[in-house]
Symmetry: C2
Subunit: 137 residues, 2 copies
Amino acid sequence: MTPISVNAVHTHRFRFSQADVEEFARVTGDNNPLHLDAEYAAQTPFKRPIIHGMLGASIFTKVLGTEFPGYGSVYLKQTLEFLRPMFVDTDYEAVFTVISINSDKHTADIQGELKDLQTGKVTTRGIATLMHREKIQ
Amino acid sequence: MTPISVNAVHTHRFRFSQADVEEFARVTGDNNPLHLDAEYAAQTPFKRPIIHGMLGASIFTKVLGTEFPGYGSVYLKQTLEFLRPMFVDTDYEAVFTVISINSDKHTADIQGELKDLQTGKVTTRGIATLMHREKIQ
């Protein structure tokens, strides 16, 4: 089990379908029509449904909890800035960069950015703080 | 549609089942065994599976997106501190308090705290920044 190091980068490509949005709405109870109702969304500045910011942010918990640092990671903090709307059927890339490590506490600050692969623009940015006794040293 | 005001408080009680945790793992892809595998979790300081921090945090998107301020809210930022583990089949209360309002931008900072109803201890704390043209003035 190799520990992560400062400046290490991990990337993960993903996309969501409208079915994913509907399932996320069901499990979380967030049925805001901005995400589910095309007619409602057409009246907003976005013109069409946007995915839940927290569904986009779920990429953070997925990647950090299963890939990098990976299984066994304990989530301590997360900041999130929802900079631009995210849409279904669109290719995104999550880029995670280790910002700092506290060896005594086995914690790390990891910045995550979600980028639209076509435009290169960052849609969501945040910093996660995680603990992992083996992978953060 | 009555706008929200500074210091207004909104509460929401909730609990999660292991089935909710499994559905959240499926839709997000976060199958960290800390949340799903009792044998694995028994070897950790938590002794039993804890729910995903982001599943607890999904109460923020649910309540803010559907109740307070409610439908049409656009999520701009969120900070989250996962202070204590959260468990299934446990009663929690989310307490949301409006910290500040920017009338020009139609944005508000709303603090959310998730509390264990039995112990009164805060498990998760964070500040959400939202925009809503009608409800934030």
